[in-house]
Amino acid sequence: MAAKFDNAIVRWIDHRLPIFSFMHHELHEYPTPKNLSYWWNFGSLAGIALVIMIVTGITLAMHYTPHVDYAFDSVERIMRDVNYGWLIRYLHTNGGSFFFIVVYIHIFRGMYYGSYKAPRELLWMLGVVILLLMMATAFMGYVLPWGQMSFWGATVITNLFSAIPVVGQSIVTWLWGGFSVDNATLNRFYSLHYLLPFVIVGVVILHMVALHRFGSNNPLGVDVKSAKDQIPFHPYYTIKDAFGLGVFLIFFSAFVFFAPNYLGHPDNYIQANPLVTPAHIVPEWYFLPFYAVLRAVPDKLGGVLLMFGSIAVLFILPWLDRSPVRSGQFRPIFKIFFWIIVLDSVLLTYLGGKPAEGGYVIAARFATAYYFMHFLIILPALSIFETPKPLPKSISEPVIGGGGGFAGATAAPKENVR
């Protein structure tokens, strides 16, 4: 187990505190399926996005004032007067969006390749916990600049809890610390916005422990059969992740430097006014599908329950999809429905950004109904009725075993080049 290290000091420390062995084991020799495609980059990208958010967030906190009279101005001061303040803030605001982009891709990758199936159910559920924590963190962070969208977003979202029978209004007052969103609310949101990212780090560590228990799933979805199916994480995947990071940073920089406010709302550059509601309250884009579900239901409590249900259903996904075949590559019908649910999610995102009237509401109702139908009816039914294609015997077989029947099931292109 313990690796040999050349440096005597490293050996001395490692003997007493085996962090170097641990890192060598988990990040260097860690055996990884050799056929991972670029879809597997998004996990490490999410981790990097989290680090970017924490580093820029801590530096922003050095200049921000969490008070209703000063918050808005302190953010403008960061933008105008603080050295590189504009850069750090734009990295943080766009970083939030890109964190969600990366995580959503990561989730859909897990859904397509059945990464939630045994023995990775807890790994998947921890991921859903991370998503929920991210949403709470992002929501509270959006309140801090104390613009109009901050204020009214906070008002609408905290009011969701008033839908709870009997105790709802008391809970909302408790969350606010007053009778409306006000200074007390801003202060506690700041406190929690600072705390939750570190809770996310904790859950990410659990996510990694659960991942390293059985290792990554892979595009074929078949278990690793022998050491021939694996390659060490370093240098093969460190370099692949590093390349992916470079591509990611190009897109990220394009937004930060050339369209830093593209994903935001102009209304949030107007200071919060408790007496005037903006004409259209729209959450940040990454909340739009859930917002669409909320508004699709004509009943307040029903809308709230369905919105939370749209995430709750992900928790039980491992038990809804009973098909023993993991990878969508070998599930001809599942594959079609997978792309429909992707389109459905995109449609909900679009509808969430539109006013809640006329055809948009009707479309949102159909899209919402389909969303739940996919998880609660289609997936369980497919587990019974679908005939999967034959699976390769191992990860290596389609590449070197001459498996003629698997022309369409080849692994990542790089595997064909030896």
Binding site: T158, W174, S180, V181, A184, R295
Partner: protein, 176 residues
């Protein structure tokens, strides 16, 4: 622990008693940490305001701030009062007579917060849309309120809330 037939019961009792005392202790230690998030004394102290109604003319609506929220004061026209009183109760999602919502029929005083998700409905300014029932219209999710501030159409479950208020004099009202 097999000395007596109930050899384990004394130890079990100790376990349970310890756990119970621990749970009560933890609970009472946690409560201050939870209750600190409830409105503080200074927030509660700001809970009433006085308003001079003599500045409001018939048909006019004024918004005042109470507990950080807008309060709508509307001097209703006779037609608005009649139309509010004429509505049969079984047409209302949250049935309340107009008389039960006002102290003096011409002054309608409401908390201007939509009971759906807390937006401020439009209808205070003459140029605002007032919805299908001549009262208020919430732009966020499309709730329509009538001239008594009652929900008529849309996702809001309840009528606009009537705050506690009293007339200190003929033209002054204390809200809260």
């Amino acid at each position: 622990m097999a000395e007596t037939q109930q050899g384990e019961t004394r130890r079990d009792f100790l376990y349970i008693a310890t756990a119970a005392v621990g749970a009560v202790g933890a609970g009472s230690a946690i409560w201050p940490l939870i209750d600190q998030m409830n409105p503080a004394a200074d927030v509660l102290a700001l809970s009433s305001i006085e308003f001079d109604l003599s500045t409001v003319e018939p048909g006019m609506a004024v918004t005042v701030k109470w507990r950080g929220k807008p309060v709508f004061v509307r001097y209703r026209t006779p037609e608005e009062i009649t139309s509010a009183e004429a509505v049969p109760l079984d047409e209302l999602p949250d049935p309340q007579t107009d008389a039960s919502r006002v102290q003096e029929a011409k002054y309608l005083i409401l908390v201007g917060v939509c009971t759906h998700l807390g937006c401020v409905p439009l209808g205070q300014k003459a140029s605002d849309p007032r919805g299908d029932y001549g009262g208020w219209f919430c732009p966020c999710h499309g709730s329509h309120y009538d001239t008594s501030g009652r929900i008529r159409k849309g996702p809001a479950p309840l009528n606009l809330f009537v705050p506690a208020y009293e007339f200190v004099s003929d033209t002054t009202v204390r809200i809260g």
